[in-house]
């Protein structure tokens, strides 16, 4: 390789690319086992989706449990759902979908190399995520205040207290696992923001922003299903 002389004055390639073919200076993020940056990005995206596939089945177990008990105890599901604050739940849905919009705009800013919109949208996404968790905290706090927490101190005035306790258990399990994903999302978004501030991203390489976006949108999708399944079971009063 030392004898290789590039007619354009570029340094010799690092052992890839056909001899004599014009090869650009490799991007610092380019791993040597990938032919091109496109292939590398494609592999990273596929890997992220494989991870999300395991997440789908992870949450899927809880959704299956939910469906079984809802099928068995429709009246209790109606009673339990009416205990949840539909206003806070709706506001949180709007907040999370808005954070998905800012995340999508952040990825777009990274694609087009717009540094300031990238940082602005990342910060907005983090703030909206925080708003979601703060609202969730007050919802949880209310549950503790009125004794709607599964366990020996569970207290519920109604015909199917034991079955409602099952609903509340699933409410805490599903929203809790979702909230945990939000907290992990913060860690990821903080790193992405830090990297963005150090101007690590460019239209040539923004894979971490793209993958963080996929994660964030996945968490949003989980909530899109949790909202009607938990808050809107029987608002029309069919079973109540």
């Amino acid at each position: 390789m030392a004898a290789h002389v590039d007619p354009h004055g570029h340094p010799p390639p690092h052992g890839y690319g056909a001899a004599g073919v014009h090869v650009h200076e490799p991007h610092p993020a380019h791993q040597h086992h990938f032919e091109t940056m496109e292939q590398q990005a494609e592999a990273a995206t596929l890997g992220m989706w494989l991870f999300l596939a395991t997440e789908v089945l992870f949450f899927g177990g809880l959704f299956t449990t939910y469906l079984i008990y809802r099928m068995w105890y429709p009246a209790a599901w109606s009673e339990g759902s009416l205990e949840l604050d539909i206003v806070l739940g709706s506001v949180n849905t709007v907040v999370l979908i808005t954070s998905s919009l800012t995340m999508a705009l952040a990825v777009r800013a990274a694609q087009t190399g717009h540094q300031r919109p990238l940082i602005r949208n990342l910060i907005l996404t983090i703030i909206l995520g925080l708003v979601f968790l703060v609202i969730k905290f007050f919802e949880y706090k209310h549950k503790f205040d009125v004794g709607h927490v599964p366990g020996p101190n569970f207290h519920f005035e109604g015909a199917h207290a034991g079955q409602v306790e099952l609903f509340i258990t699933l409410y805490f399990a599903m929203t809790g696992l979702h909230a945990l994903h939000m907290v992990i999302g913060f860690g990821i978004m903080s790193v992405i923001l830090w990297m963005a501030m150090k101007q690590r991203f460019s239209p040539a390489w923004y894979t971490p922003v793209e993958l963080a976006g996929l994660y964030w949108h996945f968490v949003d999708i989980v909530w899109i299903f949790l909202f009607p399944l938990l808050y809107l079971v029987d608002r029309a009063g069919h079973y109540a």
Binding site: M37, E38, Q40, A41, E42, T45, L46, W49, L52, A53, V56, L57, G60, F63, T64, L67, I68, M71, W72, Y73, P74, A75, A76, I86, S90, V94, I97, T98, S100, L101, A104, L105, V107, R108, Q111, T112, H160, A204, W205, Y206, T207, E210, G213, L214, H217, F218, D220, I221, I224, F225, F227, P228, L229, L232, D234, R235, A236, G237, H238, Y239
Partner: protein, 116 residues
């Protein structure tokens, strides 16, 4: 890296549609549709998730391999739902003449929870 760059207007359009669907699902929940409330709510949620996946997550512009991975994940999710629920839903069908009832210790006591 040459990912497809969608116009900003597309993202705002998708966002507006998601907001409309959120309003629609709340309105539908308060409308007495009987046993149709649940399918309607789930259908709207699936529509919203599809929009997020196709446009916010760029799957519309992704490779076939990525699309296949997603469809496979959803297929296995479907298997989990279908096979588990056919089991739980059908318990007591042939062991108890009245279906899952007070005499059935395996299945749930549906008599006390059915809508009147």
């Amino acid at each position: 890296m040459s990912g497809h760059v969608a116009p900003k207007s597309l993202y705002f359009g998708i966002f507006g549609t998601l907001m409309l669907l959120t309003g629609l699902t709340i309105a539908a929940a308060f409308t007495p549709l009987g046993s149709f409330n649940f399918p309607v709510a789930i259908s709207i949620a699936i529509a919203k998730a599809t929009l997020v996946i196709l446009f916010f997550m760029h799957v519309k512009y992704s490779s076939r391999l990525t699309k296949l991975t997603i469809v496979t994940a959803l297929f296995f999710l479907g298997i989990m739902f279908a096979l588990t629920l056919t089991d739980y839903a059908s318990r007591g069908w042939y062991t108890n003449p009245r279906g899952s009832g007070p005499g059935n210790t395996v299945g749930p006591n549906l008599q006390s929870t059915s809508p009147k």
